[in-house]
């Protein structure tokens, strides 16, 4: 960890200004010299490991008074970016109308972390790739563009099988993002020139040739809220992992269905633990719509969801696992009592 200036801001414009001060160069937001601090559960870790080296840390927690509301008005959901994971997971309305959101939060991290971590920070959580997090490994294109990728032929059991490139196979580690991308959420972004909204699916960028650029956020921009239209009571988040709690997904699935008279009128399938970014399996969804659920359908959907997956030495098992998780999540969503 390097010494840094701590700055606490009390309104959004001061936050944007403090963050924008440091973005004169063209670094991606993760490399900007000023970094926003919310729950701190990723940033402080990475600073201690010397992976992130901000000169200024802008504490945006005072913005919680305006940016942490949980709102279910008019059949739509609006979640403030500074809402704590634990508060959202415990909200009975969200549990009833968006079980996929409540469960993706509840099954993430530990109670202590969920009490600290915010929704905005959570979706921007950085990869757990050990070669990225340990600066003594020289080859990491995400940390040091052009240096190579130690994970490609290294110990890559936790790494991605979807959305990978020859430059990076680091897994996007979060759970909540899979629920958001499945439900076609919108991200509200506050920046220098005001507020803009983008589909959640456009927030993260796959690694391609520039794994150091992880999102489409411009330097100095902050996520201020997420919105979801409609309600999704028939939705599940299923997470397979090595231990029962406090562990990242080896494979997870966020599934939301709208079933009318036994026919699936709308279906959403997103995958976690398998891809470099939050991953929507649209081709798989197309197979479901207008169908009646049965296990054979679930199997076809699962196969389609993982169709493009590429395994490597230690993570190839994730392809078969991913299929079983998708099939099981579909089964759970189709048969759940609502």
């Amino acid at each position: 960890m390097r010494s840094f200036t701590y700055q606490r801001v009390t309104d959004p414009s001061a936050a944007i200004q403090a963050l924008a001060m440091a973005v004169a160069n063209n670094n991606p937001p993760t490399e900007a010299t000023a970094q926003p601090l919310a729950g701190g559960t990723t940033l402080i870790d990475l600073m201690k490991l010397d992976v992130m080296r901000p000169r200024t840390v802008v504490d945006i927690n005072p913005l919680a008074s305006t940016w942490s509301a949980i709102n279910l008005d008019g059949g739509n959901l609006r979640l403030g970016a500074l809402a704590r994971m634990s508060d959202v997971a415990a909200n009975p309305e969200i549990q009833r109308n968006y079980p996929v959101i409540a469960d993706s939060l509840r099954l993430a991290a530990s109670p202590q972390l969920r009490n600290m971590a915010t929704l905005g920070g959570n979706v921007l959580q950085r990869t757990r790739c050990t070669y990225f997090r340990d600066i003594s490994y020289a080859n990491c294109n995400k940390r040091d563009p052009g240096s190579g990728c130690a994970a490609l032929d290294g110990f890559n059991r936790m790494h991605a099988v979807l959305g990978t490139s020859e430059q990076c196979i680091a897994t996007y580690p979060g759970d909540f993002a899979q629920a958001l991308i499945a439900l076609d959420a919108t991200v509200e972004i506050t920046g220098k020139s005001g507020v803009r909204n983008i589909p959640f699916a456009q927030l993260h960028k796959p690694p391609d040739d520039s794994p150091q650029i992880e999102t489409t956020l411009a330097p100095g921009e902050l996520i201020s809220a997420f919105t979801v239209s409609g309600r999704w009571p028939r939705s599940v988040y299923l997470k397979a992992r090595d231990r029962q709690s406090y562990e990242f997904a080896l494979s997870s699935a966020a599934v939301a269905l709208d079933v009318q008279d036994g026919v699936i009128s709308d279906a959403r399938v997103a995958l976690g633990g398998l891809a470099t970014v939050p991953w929507r399996a649209r081709e798989a969804e197309a197979l479901i719509k207008g169908q009646k659920f049965d296990e054979a359908l679930a199997q076809r959907v699962a196969d389609a969801a993982l169709a493009g997956a590429q395994g490597r030495r230690h993570n190839a098992f994730k392809i078969a696992l991913g299929k079983r998780v998708v099939a099981r999540a579909l089964h759970q969503a189709a048969t759940m009592e609502i």
């Binding site: 010494s3 530990s110 490994y137 110990f155 090595d242 696992l321 079983r324």
Partner: protein, 763 residues
Amino acid sequence: MSIAAPEPKANMGQPVPRYDAVAKVTGMAKYAADMPLANPAYAYLVTSAIAKGRIDSFELTEARNIRGVIDIVTHENAEKLKDVKLFSEGGYMSTTVQPLKSADVAHDGQIIAVVLADTFEAGREAAHRVKVNYRPATPSTTFDSPGTTSGPAKGQASRFKEDPKVGDFAKAFDEAEVKITASYETPTQHHNPMELFATSCVWTGDNLTIYEPSQYVYGLKNGVAAQLGIDADKVRVINYYVGGAFGSKGSTTPRTAIMASLARRLNRPVKLVPTRDQGFTIATYRAETRHQIQIGANRDGKLVALRHEGAEVSSRPDAYVVGGTKTTTRLYACPNVDSLVSIVHADRNTPGFMRSPPEVPYLFALESAMDELAVKLNMDPIELRRVNDTMKEPIGGKPYTSRSLMACFDEGARAFGWSQRSAAPKSMTDGDWLVGYGCATTCYPTQMAPAAARVRLQRDGRVRVEIAGHEIGNGAYTVIGQAAAEKLGVPFENVSVHIGDSDLPPAPVAGGSNSTASTCSAVMMVCDQIRQRLFRALMPNESVIDKAKETVGMGQTPVAESANSGRPLDREKAFDALGVSVVEEYGEWKPEDAPKDSFRAMQQGQVRIVGGSAMSDKIAYAFGAEFVEVRIDKWTHEIRIPRLVGAFAAGHIMNPRTARSQLMGGLIWGMSSALLEATELDPRYGRYVNDNLADYLLPVNADVQDVEVIMLSEQDDHINPAGVKGLGELANVGTNAAVCNAIFHATGQRIRKLPVRLENLEV
């Protein structure tokens, strides 16, 4: 009485609460890094990013410019410390690789520089700015890596004296009716005690005080003195509490003398708190092992031939070996036995003891193979153990001092509901779960070592016990206090216990489960000396007392019958007869069979452990039977363990509360070892990849559901005066195999390589 404080059965002490419980739960217990220092300099380690090669140069300007940095010490300017032998070769060290001595790098994460700074933060920042230019060489990482060398352990590791064998294995195996040949593997594992490998060094004139979590304060004191080339009497090691150790804090690691040298150079206390990932390479670990087991049996299950071949990884310079064949070749009756242990030298740091060496990897292989044999024989695995149970070990024909293995199986099976098990694999399900029941034998040698103690009794019944034992979570304070209270007939609350300080009378390393047996035997002996003095004052003419020889301070002290007999003592009357207010005794106890130089070695921090299979006319082990219920999700193949049951017999149980806690911890670790724990190596670099507690997985609360510990009453008068077999390392030995045996029962799939992960299951 409660679940945590079981009702004592015959030959068990009272489940008194831990002596240090309040201090620990209130945060008042001071661990090494909590000890206040006057104006310390903070040391931060820089460790190598390569496993093999040389350091061409350091670029230190940027690091030196960080405000608060005092100095950066590398091999170019460090004091050259004296070479000291490996602990198992008559020395003290965990490794003979001496960091900061040359530009050579011998393993991943070797200490290559130390930043000294006014604050921890400045030291860390500067360490991150140190640039090292390496000339890397290709490391040989593990088994099968090009460039490793290998050979039999016997002949290169002086601790490893024999490859046990008897009869004619080859012929018997060849002629056996039923045969099993199978290979097994266990992974690299790290102890990861919660307390990091902290060291603080303070010089007062030419006296050095070290605050460091240690399982052996006498070893550390002497080891550091030898490296610094100073008189060991000038060195004092203090650690009132150790926040977990599990073997990793048993021998002297290079960091301590380096810190002492730097503190002397700065003329200022130096405090080091290494990071979690540095702990993976500056201390020891359990190296990966491979095994081949061959068993030949008659159709009735009786073993006729057994061969166990083991291979282990060590470092280039050191022949460290755990070598568990001394146990596996003696566990069951079998007339024809053969074994061989070999060492593969790779570019790694030197491994060391880890709870429970060497039985954990070796019994995993044997107990898995026994289950495979039971399946092949279509025999209940408990019955297979019963058929081969023995009161006489097969290699030397020596009798077990006591052995309650089958009683443990029977009690454990009853509690677990083993009779509900349907024998066929894959025959038990519950909704989406495949259910499997498995069991295995667990055992651990009964070991003892010489120990000394000083005990003071006051007329008012207050007692002070001094012994340089170690509170590593084992309940040392508590059981030592109980031993004195029981012998002297005073309430436990009257006893103050002083341990964790090398200025106190020497105790052995707190390892190999010898601690309670050794320290309590010594304390009990010294309490008897006090009783003898008091009895003599009360009954100067009683003839039995005159027969006792006066050898206090000279070695094992024979104590008169009347003093030894537990006869009540009128303490106040005795003190009045003596005309004093305090009686104090010092004594040195050694177990039967201890070598002649035991006491001298004890003072020099060289432990002479005896027991187990190494005794001249008998063999002593604690035993247990472990039962596991495993559940495997049909969809995700996730493996969960809702129930663990262990039944154990370990001689006299000093305290059923602390014993249960130890045994429960062992079962949980055993489950962890079976399913979660592995340090992953990147063979290209010879480096550890998951060297942190987010990626080196340990069970969380949600993984630990129902754990039942049953302690059987057992009395053994042939081991030590305390009658204690030791159980700190008993419970996690058999669990690996019990888990895999349960997985086989649930799935029909035999997993022979640990840990078992969901991708290993085909279901």
